[in-house]
C-alpha cells in the first residue's frame, strides 16, 4: 500500500468502525483457551460442562437452561450467543462494514437453502428443517423454499429477492432438483459467492483487502481440495469439477487444472505439495492417512484467523471472530458428545485449540 493509503486508513478507520473493532476484540478475549478446554475434558457429565461454561462468556445464555441437559441444547445456547453478538455488530455497523458483515453470512445462507431443499426432497417437515437452519443465514421467505419443485421455481419464487440471486446463472436454473444436482448447485453457488466476496474485499482495499484476500484464498483452495476428494469415483466429469473451483487462490489456475484430473488421494497429495504453504500442511499428514486432513485444515484455518488480530484497522477481525466462535462451538459439541457417550479417550482427537 502507498504511504497515503496507509496513513489515511490509520487516521480514518476509527471514524465509523473503531468502536465495533474494539467490541469484537473484546468478544475475542472471551473465547475458550486451552486451559478451558482441558477443564472441560475433565468433566464427567453434561451438567458439569454446563456449570463450567456458565463461568465463561456463555454464562447468561446457559444460566436458565433446565436440567437434564442435552448436547443440542448446549450447542443451541452457544450459537445463540454468537447470533446475539453478530446482530449487535451488524445493527451498529456503518458502510461498507455492513455489507462486509452481510457477505460473511452468505455462506450460511447457501447452506440453509440446500438444507431445506434437500429436506423437502426427503419429505421432512418444514418447521423441523427451519429449526435446524443456521441462524446467521436466515432470510425472510426462507420457509417458502419448501414449495419449489425445480430449480427454476426455486430461483423465480424465492431466491431472486435474496442476496444470493446474482449467484444463480442461467445454466444452473435449468436443472431438476435431485441429490447430485443439489450438491452441484451448492458448490456452484459457493464458488460464485467466493468470487464475489473476493472482488468486494479487494474493492474495499487496504489492509482489509490483503488480510481477507489471504483467508479467502485459503478457503477457496480448501474447498477445491474437498470437492476433489469428494468427487473421486462419482459421475462428476472433470470439466464439471473444474467449474466448481473458485477463480482465485494459490491453486488458481495451474493447481486447479491438475486437481481436476486427479483420481486418487496420492495424486491429490502430490498436486497440493507443489504449493509451499500446503506442503507444510501435508507433511504433518502421514503416508496414506486422509482422516486427519480435516483436523489439520481446521488447525491451519484457526492459525490464520488468530493472525488477523495482529493488525488493527481492518474488517478481517469480524470474519475471524465468526469463524473462531463456530470452531469453538464445534469443539464444545465434540466434548459434549464424548462426555455423553462416555468416550472420553477420544476427546482430544476432535478439538482444535485456539490459544
Amino acid at each position: 500500500m502507498s504511504f497515503g493509503e496507509d496513513t489515511s486508513e490509520m487516521c480514518l478507520f476509527n471514524v465509523k468502525d473503531g468502536f465495533l473493532e474494539a467490541v469484537v476484540r473484546g468478544y475475542k478475549l472471551g473465547l475458550l483457551s486451552t486451559a478451558d478446554y482441558n477443564n472441560l475434558c475433565q468433566c464427567e457429565t453434561l451438567e458439569d460442562i454446563k456449570l463450567y461454561l456458565t463461568g465463561t462468556d456463555y454464562g447468561p445464555y446457559l444460566a436458565n437452561e433446565a436440567s437434564p441437559m442435552h448436547t443440542t441444547t448446549l450447542v443451541d445456547c452457544c450459537t445463540r450467543k454468537l447470533v446475539a453478538d453478530w446482530k449487535y455488530m451488524r445493527e451498529n455497523a456503518g458502510e461498507p462494514m455492513g455489507r462486509f458483515l452481510d457477505y460473511c453470512t452468505y455462506g450460511h445462507m447457501i447452506d440453509n437453502v440446500v438444507l431445506i431443499v434437500t429436506g423437502t426432497l426427503h419429505e421432512r417437515d418444514v418447521q423441523e428443517l427451519l429449526d435446524k437452519c443456521n441462524p446467521l443465514g436466515m432470510f425472510d421467505a426462507i420457509a417458502s423454499l419448501a414449495v419449489a419443485q425445480n430449480m427454476r421455481d426455486l430461483y423465480r419464487l424465492v431466491l431472486v429477492d435474496t442476496p444470493l440471486a446474482p449467484y444463480f446463472s442461467e445454466n444452473l436454473t435449468s436443472e431438476d432438483l435431485d441429490e447430485m444436482n443439489i450438491e452441484v448447485m451448492r458448490n456452484t453457488l459457493y464458488k460464485a459467492y467466493l468470487d464475489d466476496f473476493s472482488s468486494f474485499v479487494h474493492g474495499v482495499g487496504g489492509t482489509t483487502g490483503a488480510v481477507m484476500g489471504e483467508m479467502l484464498s485459503f478457503e477457496a483452495d480448501r474447498r477445491a481440495l474437498n470437492i476433489t476428494l469428494n468427487s473421486i469415483g462419482t459421475e462428476l466429469t472433470r470439466d464439471d469439477r473444474r467449474k466448481l473451483y473458485a477463480n482465485f487462490g494459490l491453486l488458481y489456475p495451474h493447481g486447479q487444472a491438475e486437481l481436476a484430473v486427479a483420481e486418487d488421494f496420492d495424486q491429490i497429495r502430490s498436486v497440493m505439495e507443489k504449493c509451499p504453504p500446503y506442503q507444510a500442511i501435508f507433511s504433518r499428514l502421514g503416508l496414506g492417512e486422509s482422516q486427519m486432513l480435516d483436523k489439520i485444515l481446521y488447525e491451519e484455518e484457526v492459525r490464520q484467523l488468530i493472525n488477523t488480530y495482529e493488525q488493527q484497522f481492518h474488517y478481517g477481525v469480524f470474519y475471524a471472530y465468526m469463524r473462531l466462535r463456530e470452531q469453538e462451538i464445534r469443539n464444545v459439541m465434540w466434548i459434549a458428545e464424548c462426555v455423553a457417550q462416555d468416550q472420553k479417550n477420544r476427546v482430544q482427537d476432535g478439538i482444535v485449540f485456539t490459544f
Binding site: V15, G18, F19, E21, A22, V23, R25, G26, Y27, L29
Partner: protein, 201 residues
C-alpha cells in the same frame, strides 16, 4: 509508468512555470511589490490562527481515534478506562500547547504607524513573518503529534484490554510521540521571541 510521469513532472515543472510567466508577460516586479506590501498584521493573524486551528484539529483527531477504541474495549474490560485516559490527556495537551503559543504570539502584536507610501518598516515586516512562522510550526507539529498520539493510544487501549502488562510499555511510545508537540512549541517560542513590531533598526 506512474514513476515515469512523476519524475517528468518533478523535472519539468519549474521551467514550464517560468515559461508560462514569460509568455503571459507577467510583471514579476509588480508581483513582488504586491507581496511586500501585504500588511504584517495579516501575516500575524494568519500565523496565530494556524497555530490554534491546526493544534485543535490534531487534538480532536487524536481524541476520537483513541476514544472510539477505548469506549469499545471498555465494554468488556472496564478496568482499562482510568489508565487509558492518559492517552486522551496527551492529545488534549496538544490543543493546550496551541492555545498557549497563540496567546504568546498575540501579545507580540503592537500597533505601528506605516510609512507614507503605505508600506511598513523593516521591524514590523520581520515581526509579521516571524509570527507567521512560529504559528505555522506549532500548528503543523501539533497536528502530527495529535494524530500520532491518537493512533498509538488506540492500540494501547486494545492491548491493555487483552493484557494489562502491555500498557506501560506502549505508554513509552506515546510519550515519544507527544514530544513532537513540544518540539513545535519550543521552536515557535524561540522564533517569536525576537519578534517586535517596534524594534529600532
Amino acid at each position: 509508468m506512474k514513476a515515469l510521469m512523476l519524475g517528468t513532472a518533478a523535472l519539468l515543472w519549474l521551467p514550464s512555470f517560468l515559461l508560462l510567466l514569460y509568455l503571459l508577460q507577467v510583471d514579476l516586479n509588480y508581483l513582488f511589490f504586491l507581496f511586500k506590501n501585504i500588511s504584517p498584521y495579516f501575516w500575524s493573524a494568519l500565523g496565530i490562527s494556524l497555530c490554534v486551528g491546526l493544534s485543535v484539529v490534531g487534538a480532536a483527531w487524536g481524541i476520537f481515534i483513541t476514544g472510539s477504541s477505548l469506549v469499545g474495549a471498555a465494554i468488556r474490560e472496564p478496568r482499562i478506562t482510568s489508565k487509558n485516559l492518559i492517552s486522551i490527556i496527551f492529545c488534549e495537551a496538544v490543543a493546550i500547547y496551541g492555545v498557549i503559543v497563540a496567546i504568546i504570539l498575540q501579545t507580540k502584536v503592537e500597533a505601528v504607524k506605516p510609512n507614507e507610501d503605505g508600506s511598513y518598516g523593516l521591524a514590523a515586516a520581520n515581526a509579521g513573518y516571524a509570527i507567521l512562522g512560529a504559528g505555522s510550526v506549532t500548528g503543523w507539529a501539533n497536528l502530527a503529534c495529535g494524530l500520532s498520539v491518537g493512533i498509538v493510544g488506540s492500540s494501547a487501549a486494545l492491548s491493555d484490554a487483552a493484557n494489562s502488562t502491555l500498557f506501560v510499555k506502549i505508554l513509552v511510545v506515546e510519550i515519544f510521540a507527544s514530544a513532537l508537540g513540544l518540539f513545535g512549541v519550543i521552536i515557535g517560542i524561540i522564533m517569536a521571541g525576537n519578534a517586535s513590531f517596534t524594534a529600532q533598526s
